[in-house]
């Protein structure tokens, strides 16, 4: 029995002034129905490019290789028409900024029913009934009224919930949520995380959550992939990765993050910043920022290797093994 989504050795090269550079470099992962998988990393780690490649929405001129199979069908081989039949219907996206995800001068009802009618072939009145139900599901008060309203009439948190309702309208099987709660207050965030959790359990929806907030990851994702400079640094069960991270970058992300249990201890930032496209160091891309770096890290490219049944690590020296 295969996973709903199977990504294998995905590489995305973007054209830059110094030729093609890999924004995503040999990434593999799988997502099952009813599961939340997380992708974590700083900006520039390739997490958004990975997401866009699922939709065939990469920037002009991008080259891809590897494989993205949704239910066995190879997305990278599909033409524009085939992709249109998949986007929205099979996989849908919620982006970070609800203000730009919704069309400002189309009513919520129009935005929710347009692709529902296209993909599902339902009548206008049927679509509106379903849309009202969905708005109720995401807890928009007075859904009937909301259908006739415009995005500007709602708060940020409500707009994000509406954006989720729009994404769910054609009953997709996979939802890709790119920083879905970063712009929101913690209270609203809690509501949206609970909503996503419920949709997974009740509808078997698969979700890929992309965020740098490991608290959000901990609350929702069963499995977690940590990306750095377009590559997989570490992947495995969220509980294991956060309780005893093995990659120095995962450890660094955890130490840099303020969290309630840390008390007033100063944050420990990761020195330096992530490399920009085309300036990725040789060997392990993290080695210039890694406090455990050894000479071989600068020359040998680490590949993700299993350290237990479900846990992959791309750090051959494995300096944190003793600590875990």
């Amino acid at each position: 029995m295969g996973a709903l989504l199977q990504v294998e050795n995905l590489t995305v090269a973007l054209p830059t002034r110094s030729g093609y550079q890999n924004a995503v470099d040999g990434v593999s992962f799988a997502v099952d129905a009813g599961e939340v998988m997380g992708i974590a990393g700083e900006s520039g780690s390739g997490k958004t490019m990975t997401a866009l490649s699922l939709f065939g929405l990469l920037p002009h001129g991008a080259r891809t290789s590897g494989s993205i199979r949704l239910d066995g069908g190879e997305l990278l081989d599909m033409n524009a028409k085939q992709l249109r039949a998949i986007r929205g219907r099979q996989i849908a996206m919620v982006s970070q900024d609800p203000a730009t995800a919704l069309h400002p001068i189309l009513s919520i009802g129009t935005q929710m029913t347009e692709h529902m009618r296209h993909h599902l072939g339902v009548s206008k009145s049927e679509a509106l009934t379903r849309a009202a139900d969905l708005l109720g599901t995401v807890r928009i008060p007075d859904p009937e009224q909301a259908l006739h309203s415009y995005p500007g009439q709602f708060s940020g948190g409500m707009r994000q919930r509406i954006a989720i309702a729009v994404a769910l309208a054609a009953e997709p099987r996979l939802l890709v949520a790119d920083e879905p709660t970063t712009a929101l207050d913690v209270t609203v965030q809690a509501g949206i995380l609970r909503l996503l959790d419920r949709l997974c359990r009740e509808r078997g929806l698969a979700v890929i959550v992309i965020t740098h907030d490991l608290g959000v990851m901990s609350a929702t994702a069963r499995r977690l992939c940590v990306m750095y400079a377009g590559r997989l640094a570490e992947a495995g069960p969220t509980s294991e990765l956060l309780a005893s991270p093995r990659h120095p970058y995962t450890r660094g992300l955890l130490d840099a993050l303020p969290h309630p249990e840390a008390g007033g201890a100063p944050l420990v930032p990761i020195g330096g910043s992530p490399p920009s496209l085309g300036r990725v160091p040789a060997g392990c891309p993290f080695h210039p920022r890694c406090r455990y770096a050894q000479p071989l890290c600068a020359t040998e490219r680490p590949e993700p290797k299993p350290i237990s049944d479900l846990h992959l690590l791309a750090c051959p020296p494995d300096p944190l093994r003793a600590a875990s």
Partner: protein, 324 residues
């Protein structure tokens, strides 16, 4: 409270909206001493940014007063800002917008020194010193803002405020536009500057974890009013106001335990039409009938002040002749 470098007393700020007067901030008292960080938290729409802007004189006051080093903070108008306010500076949220893209970094920073009467050459030297002070290379004086990442730009923006030799900074969401590791760096920088330069800092943030990490005192705002204020550790360890409780419970912990954060249903009400009595009562889990009638005021409970007559047991004192 004469030891406060900045004191906000009974401040109200109003906006006009479709002919209505909307009170975004309604009767707030808050002070910050030198060497102290006061965190101002709350959901979006609670008025925390408006209060911050009013505190530096960017918004006219509808009532109350703001004093900086004992002298009144006057709202920005057509007249030149009085010289004695130069020590009161603001750090803005978005370092992509707050730095002029067409001027060199050195000139941007030197503005503060030049306004203080420094000669051109001295101002530029000071700019180079300040860049090193915030952890940037001194030769950045000849660069432009676009050459730097978000975290570096925010350091530049902070150096720019330091050029005016401030004694008090107001920072409005200074790190929420930054990457996770850059957030830690900038939060640590602000914290160091407060200690070493003996500054007062009001840190406005919707991210409670950051405030928890760096603030000495925390003030929680809801719909234009402060509902709880006290030492950060005290408030955090044992929040007394039901709203603070809800906020703290909504933060997802990055412990890998997979616990969903607690939801606070509903949205912040429209400030044009605030609920009568305690403004939190429609969303409050412990609300009683009296909550919609009694105006709340801050009273000491368990080492901090809260505006909740149920928790403070102050029914008799809180009763007002005019209810609703």
């Amino acid at each position: 409270m004469t030891d406060m470098v900045l004191q906000v007393s009974g401040v109200a700020v109003e906006y006009g909206r479709r002919g209505q007067r909307v009170r975004a901030v309604d009767g707030v008292d808050l002070g910050v001493a030198r060497g102290e960080i006061v965190g101002l938290v709350g959901e979006s729409g609670c008025g925390k940014s408006t209060l911050a802007r009013a505190a530096v004189g960017l918004e006219p006051l509808a009532a109350g007063s703001v004093t900086f080093e004992g002298q009144p903070v006057v709202a920005l108008g057509r007249r030149r800002r009085p010289d004695y306010l130069r020590g009161l500076q603001m750090v803005f949220q978005d370092p992509y917008e707050s730095l002029n893209p067409r001027r060199k970094i050195g000139e941007l920073i030197a503005d503060g020194a030049w306004l203080g009467g420094a000669r051109r050459k001295d101002g530029l030297e000071r700019a180079a010193e300040l860049l090193e002070r915030v952890g940037m290379p001194a030769n950045a004086v000849d660069s432009y803002a676009h050459e730097f990442s978000g975290g570096q730009r925010q350091r530049i923006a902070i150096a720019r405020t330091l050029a005016a030799r401030p004694t008090c900074l107001i920072a409005d969401e200074p790190i929420s536009a930054l990457d996770a590791s850059a957030q830690a760096q900038v939060a640590n920088l602000l914290s160091e500057l407060v200690d070493e330069e003996d500054l007062g800092l009001i840190l406005v943030s919707h991210d409670l974890s950051v405030v928890r990490q760096v603030a000495d005192r925390v003030a929680v705002m809801y719909l234009g009013r402060i509902v709880e204020v006290g030492a950060t550790d005290t408030v955090w360890a044992n929040p007394q106001h039901p709203y603070t409780e809800a906020l703290v419970a909504a933060i997802p912990r990055p412990d890998g335990a997979g616990v969903l954060p607690v939801d606070l249903p509903g949205d912040v009400p429209d400030p044009a039409n605030p609920p009568a009595g305690c403004r939190f009562h429609p969303r409050c889990p412990i609300a009683e009938a009296s909550c919609s009638e009694l105006e709340q005021r801050l009273l000491p409970v368990a080492g901090r002040d809260i505006a909740c007559h149920i928790r403070s047991g102050a029914v008799a004192h809180a009763r007002q002749p005019h209810a609703g």
